[in-house]
């Protein structure tokens, strides 16, 4: 589904990604962990098309097409969804309007009929019940005055409405208490399906107790330095990221696992 080869990216002239390889097949959940500044968020921004980041080398193929050639909105319509670390507030614009505009833009691309306001509200209310959001959130301005937990729930709600092919969760657990995190994790787990893949970016192992990944990758200094199964997350939790510095001079270990680049 997603093939990343030798990806190099810079922001403000500084190279953040330095030859990243990653393969993701349909139905897989990949966790990307690593110390601060390793390039985790950069990867999510590059995949979704943020213009502040310049790709200087490498390729990204998504469902057989050149992802890097598409503008932001076309990537979203092709099925890439980013759950934001800091969702944006949009005063004066109702959540219902925003989500319907978004869903219809994507449905149009898929060749599906657009939903009118009534059908949309019906659909949205069902999904909101699942993520534990009250109906009033439909008519409130997008994220305005939402608590940290409510904003993240709203991201999960959008994700479940848009039914993406590839969902990227960028530090979705940051700033959440355990209860809020469980709600988010439940929402994500409900979306697991054989033809949907996910990238879960996180600094801590905590979230991965609730969203159990198929593969765990360690991102450091702009590339994946180690890959393994879910037990790798526990190892990182125990050892921290200090060992990365020791390994700096050693040759990077060959990425392992079915999901890693060959």
């Amino acid at each position: 589904m997603l093939k990343i080869r030798n990806l190099h990216a810079t922001v403000e002239g500084k190279e953040i990604l330095r030859g990243l390889d990653l393969d993701i097949n349909p139905g897989e959940i990949h966790a990307i962990m690593g110390p601060n500044g390793a390039g985790k968020s950069t990867l999510s921004q590059v995949l979704t098309g943020r213009s502040d980041y310049t790709v200087t080398a490498g390729t990204v193929e998504f469902d057989g097409q050149d992802l890097l050639a598409l503008p932001v909105e076309e990537r979203a319509r092709a099925g890439i969804f980013l759950a934001f670390q800091y969702p944006i507030e949009v005063p004066g614009v109702s959540n219902a309007y925003f989500m319907r505009a978004s869903l219809n833009a994507i449905r149009r691309k898929r060749g599906e009929p657009v939903l009118d306001a009534m059908d949309f509200v019906k659909l949205a209310k069902e999904e909101m019940k699942r993520v534990g959001m009250k109906d009033e959130f439909l008519y409130r301005s997008v994220n305005e005055g939402f608590s940290g937990g409510e904003k993240k729930r709203n991201e999960v709600l959008q994700m479940s409405l848009l039914q993406p092919r590839l969902a990227i969760l960028d530090e979705t657990d940051s700033g959440l208490d355990i209860d809020a995190m469980k709600v988010v994790a439940d929402g994500v787990n409900r979306l697991r399906s054989p033809d949907r893949s996910m990238i879960v970016i996180t600094h801590y192992q905590r979230l991965l107790e609730y969203i159990v990944p198929d593969f765990v990758h360690v991102l450091a200094r702009g590339k994946i330095v180690r890959s393994g199964g879910k037990e790798l997350a526990l190892e990182l939790e125990a050892k921290g990221y200090g060992w990365l510095d020791e390994a700096k001079t050693a040759a990077p270990r060959r990425a392992m696992g079915r999901g890693a680049a060959a």
Binding site: R50, S51, P87, V90, V93, S94, Y97, S102, A105, S141
Partner: protein, 436 residues
């Protein structure tokens, strides 16, 4: 004497005898003195600091004449549709009883045309009418030529639940008209007053409107001015309030129309524990120009002011905001916050935003901030990452920028009215009809 000014002296000669209240000696004298001041001083020029960014020379050069009056009944009916309130309608500066609909008023509340109130309320009106030396040359021109306006008076503890609506319509496309609205709220009284300015399409009229507000102890007055004149019109406005102990004055200025609009908005804290909120929003596109000059005069201790102005500049539009907070000597315990944000939608649009703090007291809390910029890149990315076209995303965010100013309007029906007006005006705003 400049030839530019002579037509105004002529207009005064023709009109003054027939202006409502002309038989009151003090008023006739006041108008005469005001004309003299205007003839001496003329139009404000950019040499005056407060007019540095706004030139009136095209206005000064333009001639105005009555005639060609069009029917405005439909426009007024449309404005009133589905809305509540006590309505006073002025057409080309004169009260129109037929289009007005004051309805039943609560006890102790007067809502009437000034022209109909000279007999019974002359003394009360005189007390707040204003003086010759106030403001600029244009202020004096208003004082000389204004014959009508709203007379709103709330007795002690009287409360007007429904908004009082003043509608001023330009019906003659080349006419000049002058309005003077007076609002007196005695101790503990409460009211919301909305001034709407509209005109027939394409009208190149000149409207000068002065509003004077007096608030007694613990009175609460929320004033909203919604300026939606034709994009060829000239609009000059002055709003000046004087606040008594513990009173609240809220000023909302939504300036969306006119080729050139200038508003001077002032409040004076005449006693302690006063509170004010100045909220402003303006939109300029094409070659239009909007200028707001505000002054919040913390003349007494322990008063609170919040000021928030936002402007959206498109095409080659030019927006100006100059906000002065004056904290007089001894006004300790002052708490003043001022913020202004300008959104530029085009590279040729221009914004001049100038906060000004003048503090002569020791123990005060004053903060101000100003931003000028384009649509926030993070917000744009968020919307596009949800599949929205860039153009659609920009329209949504432009509306959102304005909406946070509109959200400060407390009365829901007035807020909704302004939201509708914005949707009818902002780029891509019509799609937002369903967003509300």
């Amino acid at each position: 004497m400049s030839t530019e000014l002579q037509p105004w002296a002529d207009a005064f000669g023709q009109r003054s005898g027939g202006l409502p209240g002309a038989r009151l000696p003090w008023l006739a004298a006041l108008r005469r003195q005001a004309l003299d001041r205007f003839m001496t001083e003329g139009w404000p020029t950019p040499r005056i600091e407060a007019w540095r960014h706004t030139s009136l020379s095209p206005l000064a050069a333009q001639g105005f004449e009555d005639g060609g009056r069009q029917s405005v009944a439909e426009q007024v009916t449309e404005l009133k549709a589905g809305e509540t309130g006590h309505w006073l309608v002025f057409v080309d500066g004169a009260y129109d009883a037929e289009l007005s609909d004051v309805g039943s008023l609560p006890a102790g509340v007067t809502v009437a045309a000034l022209s109909a109130s000279w007999t019974q309320d002359a003394e009360a009106i005189e007390a707040v009418y204003g003086r010759v030396e106030q403001g600029y040359g244009t202020s004096a021109l208003n004082l000389a030529l204004a014959g009508d306006g709203a007379w709103i008076r709330l007795d002690r503890a009287a409360v007007a639940e429904q908004p009082i609506r003043i509608v001023c319509v330009a019906a003659s496309p080349k006419a000049a008209h002058f309005l003077r609205h007076l609002i007196v709220a005695e101790a503990g009284a409460q009211a919301t007053v909305v001034e709407h300015y509209i005109g027939v399409p394409g009208a190149a009229n000149f409207c000068h409107a002065t509003t004077r507000v007096q608030l007694g102890r613990d009175a609460r007055v929320t004033h909203l001015k919604l300026q939606q004149e034709s994009e060829q019109a000239w609009h000059l406005g002055e709003i000046e309030a004087t606040q008594g102990h513990g009173s609240y004055f809220g000023s909302h200025s939504m300036s969306l129309g006119a080729r050139l609009a200038r508003n001077d908005i002032i409040t004076h804290f005449a006693d302690e524990r006063c509170e004010t909120m100045f909220n402003g929003l303006y939109y300029v596109n094409q070659r239009r120009h909007v200028d707001h000059h505000t002054l919040i005069a913390h003349e007494k201790p322990n008063c609170v002011s919040h000021e928030n102005y936002r402007g959206i500049m498109a095409d080659t539009g030019h927006g100006v905001f100059c906000g002065k907070i004056l904290v007089a000597e001894g006004a300790d315990g002052t708490d003043a916050i001022q913020r202004t944000d300008s959104l530029l939608l085009s590279r040729l649009a221009k914004s001049d935003a100038r906060p000004e703090l003048e503090i002569y007291a020791e123990d005060v809390k004053c903060a101000h901030g100003a931003t000028v910029g384009q649509i926030d890149a993070d917000s744009l990315f968020y919307l596009r990452a949800r599949g929205l076209d860039e153009a659609h995303a920009r329209d949504i965010l432009t509306y959102a920028f304005a909406a946070s100013s509109v959200a400060r309007i407390e009365l829901p029906e007035v807020r909704h009215h302004v939201e509708r007006a914005l949707r009818g005006l902002l780029p891509g705003g019509s799609f937002m009809e369903e967003a509300a």
